[in-house]
């Protein structure tokens, strides 16, 4: 459902495409995978920043969500996503189209998020995540949602409080479990794509995901007492 919505938004964004797609040269894999980004990737590889701007427009939200869930801080996630896009632009020549562009980009965001968290942890001497303290990004997220309209302020507050608590539980997970949980249950990547990003066999991804779900459930039960 979410994915369909996401694709629709892409369609509206790139509907009146000013930039014609260039078919990737001899990129059979791309045709098999059916990556909509292949043409823009090919143009970006030739240094066309406008083509890369289309890729940024298409993927910024998904990448920001992924980074937010991984890091738990909206501003930091924005910085990480920006860095990830710059890294992707630098390294786009190395992207051979073995996977979708979004999978490749997701891998870069994942790595950047990992590095960011590692540096952050090194800086702040293992700061304990307090269950009473909502994640920082939740407040910004709240403002964004209110701005976008729809729900009433009360509903928004309730939703955001819930969202913040879930985020706290996600952040409390072990790093490896958090990654698979975010990639599968929030970003809805396929097991194969997650395996590509994490360079793990599918079976390992699944077992790690199932352990992560159990751990999340335990965390949520601690906060809410009852999930029904």
């Amino acid at each position: 459902m979410r994915k369909a919505k996401w694709r629709d938004s892409f369609a509206t964004l790139t509907g009146g495409n000013a930039l014609p797609d260039i078919p990737a040269q001899g990129d059979a894999r791309n045709r098999i995978i059916g990556d909509d980004d292949a043409g823009f990737v090919a143009r970006s590889r030739q240094g066309d920043t406008e083509a890369f701007a289309v890729l940024v427009r298409r993927h910024q939200k998904k990448m920001l969500n992924m980074a937010c869930r991984m890091i738990g801080d909206y501003d930091e996630a924005c910085d990480v996503v920006q860095e990830s896009f710059i890294s992707a632009y630098r390294a786009i020549g190395k992207f051979r189209g073995d996977s979708r562009f979004s999978t490749w980009l997701g891998g870069i965001v994942l790595n950047q998020a990992r590095n960011h968290l590692r540096q952050k942890n090194a800086r702040s001497e293992k700061e304990e995540i307090s269950l009473d303290q909502p994640a920082r990004f939740a407040q910004k997220d709240l403002l964004n949602t209110i701005r976008s309209g729809g729900d009433s302020v009360i509903e928004c507050l309730e939703k955001k409080e819930l969202s913040a608590k879930i985020q706290v539980c996600i952040s409390a997970l072990d790093g490896e479990q958090r990654e698979v949980l975010v990639l599968r249950d929030i970003q809805e990547y396929s097991y194969e794509e997650i395996g590509d990003m994490l360079k793990l066999p599918e079976g390992t991804v699944k077992s790690r995901l199932f352990r992560a779900r159990n751990a999340l459930k335990e965390g949520l039960l601690k906060i809410f007492g009852d999930l029904r």
Binding site: V56, L64, R69, N144, R211, L216, K217
Partner: protein, 354 residues
Amino acid sequence: MNNCKDINNLLPAYLDDALSPSEKERVAEHLAVCSRCRQDVADLSKAVSLLHNLDEVEPPPFFEQRIMAAIREESRKKQSIWRRLFFPLHIKIPIQALTTVFIAVFAFLVYQKSGPEIKQMTPLPAPVTGAVKERIAPEISRQPSVPATAAQDGKAPSSASQGQNRGQFAPAPSAGEGKQDSLAAFPAPLREDHPAATALKDTGIAAEAGKFNAKGEAETISGPTVLSSPQSRKSKAAVPGAVRESRDMTAASPSLPAAEAVPVKRPGLALTIQVLEINQGLQDVEACLYRFNARILERRHRGEAIFLKVQIDGRRIAAFVRQLEDIGPVRTNVDRLEFPVGNAAVDIRIDRLP
């Protein structure tokens, strides 16, 4: 027998429909009878649905523009570095490549031409000391005014000053030397048809070229082994003076039949000069070499003696030896001091007078 803990571990896979049919059946059977595990399934399902329903965060305003500004900056930086290095002009790469090739070829040619000399060359004679300088300066200043007299000067030196003059201005070949002038036509500077060599061939006596000691002591100078006639050996033993010795040899050689002359490899010239004081002698010899534009290729000290390997114009060797005689008694390993045009290698041994 199904343990709740085991079933609990299988529940996420059960919900994901990732269990084998037998495991799936086992879990279903357990759930039918265990209310606690049913509760776990419900909680797990709720937790996953909470994740699925999490609201997406929106990018901040102008996020795309911010990213693209950074990327355009990056692109400009990358391009400008690239351009600065290789494309300020569209022809820079060919120019760089051609220049590199040209420099490489030029360096190779220079090395090939002068490589061995560079390797062998020792520094030119050390700055001339005061005394030597005084001797050199007036001679140099006199040079332009006396070429005619130098040419007129005969062969045998009669005084030290005459000898010096002769040394500076290479003497014109005399009538007697005319025969040897034809040697210049020989391809190799150190090859000649020497009448004495024929005699050596006949007698078949071998001796070392570097043996110059008047007392008959075996003192070798680094140099090629050559054949020498018994007459010359005799004369060496009898007469210590090198000039007289060579005259003996030249006197003896014309008596040998010229028809039997065969080409024999002529040895490099080796000189021994005896001086009162080695260092002063070295300085004098170096000054002399300097005057004759000779190049010192090698300088070695062995015991008290000093060995020099020098390169000098073959036509000026005779004059050079005469100059050396002013410094001290000189002995040579050849009977005639006539060499063809071109550089010739000369070994000089500077020894203390006994």
